[in-house]
Amino acid sequence: MNLQKCLDQTKKWTRFGGEQMKDFQYFSPGSLSEAISLAAHSGPEAALLAGGTDLVVQMKRNDRFPSCVINLKRISEFLRIDDRQERGTLIGPLVTHHTLAESPAIREKFDFLSEAALSIGTFQIRERGTIGGNICNGSPAADTIPPLICLGAKLRLRSSSEERVIAIEDFFEGPQKTRLKSDEILTGIEIPILPPRTRGIYLKLGRRKALEIAVVGVAVLLTLDERQMTCTGARIALASVAPIPLPCPRAGAVLVGQKMENKVIEQAARVAQEESVPISDLRGTAEYRRQMVYVLTKRALNEVHRKIAGVNN
């Protein structure tokens, strides 16, 4: 073992006794414009604080050590869920997972997003954790992101110099790496209205029934024709099987225009399996994950088909 490498490690391992959270300047702006101005001035050293369920842990472990923290919770419009009729739904970034799980506005239109939010962590985490935080943390295992990808969600990003809207699947570069610029704030998540006979499902595989990061997560959004037998739209997205939350356009394409029969469903599941690029880590081997992509995608497609067609088991 290389001595220098070991000694470089020594500093890291003071973690044994804990880490000091490095000092930082704290701001709690009362308005969006104030927050944007702060973000502009603080530069890349600043961190945006939503629920804190990711950031505070990262700061405790010294994985992140911002010199300034900007708390977004006093920005009232960030907590809203707006039904804008044909223009779709606008979800504020600080809407908590608990609210996503319980809010009728979300449950009725996008129930699989509620399911995904409900599957996160624990009750206490869901009371603080937010949809914006989940997105901007950029974990490939994040549960809300695959449903949002299926929904065709768009992210509103604002800085002092520009405002832009990008598709959510274009937001991720790698594990915990997003395309959020250092002075940008996520100000809203736009979800377009869905065509009739459209439902989604999110299946999460974990070894326990709570406090789990997905071994594999599968989100499916399916649209059927009037006779509820043929697929007219299908979007599939996966968690924990790639460096980023993974859209599976080829798998979705297998279904479009096809009758929802076993062999089509199995084919779509196989393609999703092929599209996935999981690794082996503490939570599971690559081989197991690949197998589970197939199993869960198949189950998800069958279940969501039943949901739309109102057919019971």
């Binding site: 070991c6 500093k11 044994f16 197991y288």
Partner: protein
């Protein structure tokens, strides 16, 4: 004859429940003392290295740092549960031997300052080759971890009967290799200690220890202080399960920091340290072979076990020995051989953990017994009834089985679980779901054993004082860990004295005032401490009777104690209250009523050092547990639905307490051990150091648990009682494995039974079928 008791057998709330519910009870980390400092330990980042130099000069200069200590600040004494095996030190000076090994420590005015100082201690290491697999470590040429030539710390074997002959007589023989990994205790309260060395030379320690009196001895030896200068208080403990048995290096380090800084010092593990560098369940690789006759009777059993001792000696020899001893004890098999290798590695080392080697061996024994049953076309319940230990029997290793309700346990469980119906019933309950039911049994010592700190004894003592208002002080050296022992002991005292439970005040775990006891381990306290308490109460009762006999001019044998009074039997109007009797004795005769009792587990012996023969416990606990599971054959996920647990507890002193232990043992530990717990070590470094990645069951992972307390009224237990603490989780994993086999026809020989392993085994079975 059914005894009617006034206190024993009633479902009573714990004595300390109120203060816990209020949040009042002060655990070690809640203790505040004037001038208290925060202590932190510098731990080795390397699994094996020479320590060339430790430079503390920058650390000590930080404002607010009051002490920085290394081995040079200690008497450099080695310590171990058994002093003859001592090779660990509070702070290492020559070598570090595992990732997390203690090298230095700091005490400062607050946590941030302590952490800053820690980061400024510069240690020059010379890395050495390390070894992490015991089988590699055994080979000649493997890196030497200690002074000895070989990394084999112990190679022992025991033979009873004639195993070769036994196997020759067997009609069915099964063999297999099983593996049990490193498991973390996951007590909700991390390990910790507050030490206060005052300038008169007196050291006071509040520790999360399970063994306050032995801790005092160990501190005395490792610090070079006489015992009279050390007071140990067992602080209320947030779960123990063996984690806090014997001195933890933190106890000694806090003391050293306090001695150096001359201020009280608090050292508390972070959760990460709990996973990274704290004692674990000893990993074991067990090769086992069992043989039975056509009629199902086991005739021979043998094992070879390789135990990962980790970097230092602690309890490995005892635990490996205990595991082996179960071969002879469970089902009284006539021909037994067990061979054990205890091997040093550069992994974190093991310690006591609920079951003490028994969960590991029971998993192997019981799942193999199911395989034997199948080969003989027998049902798992049937084969166990045939082999069940009987009361008044003797094992080939010399264990004398007194009370034994194993048959009753098996029958109770199979009846209530509707075993036959479910065994014959449909397994397929959905397109990918299969249901199954399984069973496992266990035996465990219920009084502790006589190995105690190499002193060949297992004792407990108690003192009872009656106060002038008739209330009772019970001083016991035993340890309350949250398992309810204080309540149980108070109930025993109250029953014997005929007083109300609410009149009993328990003082425990305080070495200044309580008489010595071995502490809480080995499921011993109900039996051993309970007997000591009963004897003390009986002694006190004699004194009270003496006073009352004179007052009422009644013969001693006509008196009885009941309802806080001492009556002349048959004449309800003729009595003296306990208060009056105590006051009379104190004021008018100058004799405060004080009684003492002791129990040294007298019906057991230290086993013969050469042969291992001997009755190692005064009483044995038995249990049968049945589990019902659902297996998803596409994902491999196993869902435990139901457990039926019948435990022979001798006499349930506090039935609700026994139920709590069983439910907790099954769900919070047994199911975890079976399905999800695995402390993953790579290159000696623990990889899963938090509760997200090291998985214990949450409330959503619970199943139904039906408990049945079988009372066999042991001849030696206090009011017939035996313990239940460890038995609660010993057979659970084997029951789950057995149920999985019933559901999908596969065995997993390595816990935890993860979905991946299940799927792999199902696929292999399908492949084998197709061939």
């Amino acid at each position: 004859m059914e005894e009617t008791y006034q206190v024993i057998g009633k479902r009573v709330p714990r004595l300390d429940a109120l203060s816990k519910a209020m949040g009042d009870l002060r655990y070690v980390s809640d203790i505040q003392l004037p001038g208290i400092l925060i202590g932190k330990v510098l731990r080795s980042p390397l699994p094996h290295a020479k320590i060339l130099q430790i430079d503390i000069s920058r650390a000590i200069r930080i404002a607010g740092v009051k002490a920085v200590v290394t081995a040079a600040d200690t008497p450099r004494r080695k310590f171990c549960m058994n002093p003859a095996w001592a090779n660990n030190m509070l702070l290492q000076d020559e070598k570090v031997r595992y990732v997390g090994d203690q090298v230095a420590a700091v005490a400062a005015i607050d946590e941030d300052t302590a952490l800053e100082a820690l980061s400024l201690i510069k240690v020059d290491y010379e890395p050495l080759p390390a070894v992490f697999d015991p089988e590699e470590a055994m080979k000649p040429g493997a890196p030497r971890i200690h002074q000895e030539e070989s990394n084999i710390a112990l190679h022992g074997s025991r033979n009873f009967g004639d195993v070769e002959q036994g196997f020759r007589e067997a009609n069915s023989i099964c063999e297999g290799t099983y593996y049990s990994p490193a498991i973390a205790h996951c007590c909700m309260e991390p390990r910790g200690c507050v030490a206060d060395y005052d300038r008169s030379g007196k050291l006071t320690v509040w520790s999360t220890t399970q063994t306050p009196h032995p801790l005092r001895e160990e501190l005395s030896e490792v610090l070079g202080l006489p015992q009279s200068k050390i007071s140990v208080f067992q602080a209320p403990v947030g779960g123990a399960f063996g984690a806090r048995m014997g001195m933890d290096p933190i106890d000694g380090i806090a003391a050293v920091l306090s001695m150096k800084s001359q201020r009280p010092v608090k050292v508390i593990n972070t959760r990460e340290e709990e996973f990274l560098s704290s004692r674990i369940r000893y990993p074991m690789k067990i090769w086992i072979r069992s043989g039975a006759k056509k009629n199902g009777r086991l005739v021979a059993r043998e094992i070879k076990v390789i135990t990962d001792n980790g970097a230092y000696n602690h309890e490995g020899q005892y635990i490996m020995g205990n595991a082996g001893s179960k071969l002879a004890q469970l089902y009284a098999v006539p021909n037994i051989r067990y061979e054990g290798l205890l091997v040093y590695t550069n992994n974190v080392y093991g310690g006591a953990f609920r079951g003490y080697g028994n969960p590991q061996i029971t998993y192997a024994m019981e799942t193999q017994l199911d395989q034997i049953a199948e080969s003989l076309n027998m049902d798992p319940v049937e084969i166990r009834l045939i082999n069940a230990n009987q009361p008044g029997s003797m094992t080939v290793s010399g264990c004398r089985i007194t009370s034994c309700g194993l048959t009753a346990c098996i029958e109770m469980v199979s009846q209530n679980a509707r075993w036959r119906e479910k065994k014959m019933g449909k397994k397929e309950i959905g397109p990918s779901l299969r249901r199954g039911i399984g069973l496992a049994c266990m035996i465990h010592g219920a009084s502790g054993v006589k190995f105690f700190w190499g002193k060949d004894c297992n004792f407990s003592s108690a003192i009872i004082k009656i106060n002038t208002d008739g209330s009772v002080d019970l001083l016991t050296g035993s340890a309350e860990l949250g398992q309810g022992s204080n309540t149980t002991l108070a109930m025993i005292a109250a029953e014997e004295l005929g007083v109300s439970l609410s009149d009993v005040n328990v003082i425990n775990g305080d070495t200044d005032t309580t008489p010595a006891c071995g502490g809480a381990w080995g499921t011993r306290q109900t039996f051993t401490a309970g007997n000591a308490v009963r004897q003390a109460a009986s002694e006190v009762k004699k004194q009270l009777f003496g006073v009352v006999s004179r007052l009422l001019e009644a013969p001693l044998q006509d008196l009885e104690a009941r309802d806080n009074k001492i009556y002349v039997r048959g004449t309800p109007g003729k009595y003296v209250t306990v208060k009056e009797a105590a006051a009379e004795s104190w004021r008018n005769r100058g004799n405060p009523i004080i009684g003492r009792g002791g129990n040294d587990d007298p019906w057991s012996v230290q086993p013969d050092p050469k042969t291992g023969y001997g009755n190692v416990s005064s009483a044995y606990a038995f249990a049968a547990q049945a589990a019902e599971v659902e297996v998803d054959v596409e994902t491999g996920l196993v869902n435990v639905i139901n457990f039926w647990c019948a435990h022979d507890v001798g006499k349930a002193i506090n039935p609700i307490g026994a139920e709590c232990q069983i439910e907790g043992g099954v769900i919070s530990m047994g199911v975890g051990y079976a399905l999800m717990e695995n402390l993953i070590l790579q290159g000696g470094q623990v990889q899963n150091t938090n509760f997200a990645d090291y998985k214990i069951p949450t409330m959503l992972d619970t199943c139904q648990v039906n408990t049945y307390l079988i009372e066999t009224i042991d001849e030696h237990g206090p009011f017939g009682a035996k313990g239940v603490g460890e038995p609660a989780m010993i057979p659970s994993a084997a029951a789950v494995a057995s149920a999985i086999y019933d559901a999908v026809g596969i065995w997993v020989t390595e816990v935890p039974i993860t979905p991946e392993k299940v799927l792999k085994a199902i696929k292999e079975k399908q492949r084998a079928k197709e061939q």
